[in-house]
């Protein structure tokens, strides 16, 4: 009979790492709000900057708080798969409804 795989033990970050991540998240949020006011007149640059900043926050929470960095890659694959499909649908919808290229009326 084949031997069953053993459950995986993985190191968890200490509280100090979590506190550092929280500090970065708070700072990035503050930067987002500042960027919102500074780049208000340049919508494309504003959108790019905000999306990059929110992706940073997203990645930090997923990697450290949700432990994806330290856990099995299967979890990352599952979550990434859902994200990829959701993101593709969002882009397809925006292209279908002309939101990607058109400026909003309001």
């Amino acid at each position: 009979m084949a031997e069953r795989p053993h459950p995986v033990e993985h190191p968890h970050p200490s509280s100090s790492v979590y506190l550092k991540v929280a500090t970065v998240l708070a700072v990035v949020t503050a930067i987002e709000v500042a960027v919102y006011y500074v780049l208000e007149s340049t919508p494309h640059l504003l959108a790019a900057a905000l999306l990059a900043l929110s992706a940073t926050k997203f990645g930090l929470v997923a990697a450290f708080y949700m432990h994806l960095k330290f856990d099995s890659k299967l979890y990352t694959a599952l979550f990434s798969g859902g994200l990829l499909v959701a993101g593709s649908i969002a882009i397809a919808f925006m292209a279908l409804f002309g939101t990607l290229t058109q400026q909003p009326m309001h």
Partner: protein
Amino acid sequence: MQHAYTQVPVAHVEATATGLNSRKLLMWTFLASECLFFGSLISSYLAYRGKSQTGPYPAETFDIPFTSVSTFVLLMSSLMMVLALAAVQRGDLRGTKIWLLATALLGTTFLGGQYFEFTTFYREGLWLPTNLFGTTFFVLTGFHGAHVTIGVIWLLSLWVQAMRGQLRQEHSLNVEIAGLYWHFVDVVWIVIFTVVYLIHG
């Protein structure tokens, strides 16, 4: 000397084909499906953005400083959650109770902020049937708020278990799985705050 990483004793886990805990795998699968759920709601918002024929419109409706504070509150609740997990994993029952309650309280504070925001928008003439902005905004943020509410109830139930001495080190996976749900709810708000509130014009 404090180490950045600590080994965590593995709770009793039934051996599976993947070597992974089935409940944790199920939660990740569920979160993947939730990506599709919120992805469709966000897509709908984006598809109809800027197409409302009548007001109120996002620029004149949103209070960015207020929502920024709500965002900060939810982010800090994720910190409380992960501190609760760290506490239960090292067998610190007092810390577990404190951080679980703190997470639930911050989550409730966020919900209070959402309630204040929704009622303010309503008084200003924005509601579900008002225009496309109202419909897509309230459906998206309403469903997110419902998810936060479920999370708060879940956390409070864990806190009650902890208060009764029923949440011990060997039950840390229960807290971890609740934490995964809570962090996902936070991550969805990160996307909503950016895409809906900050990139609105």
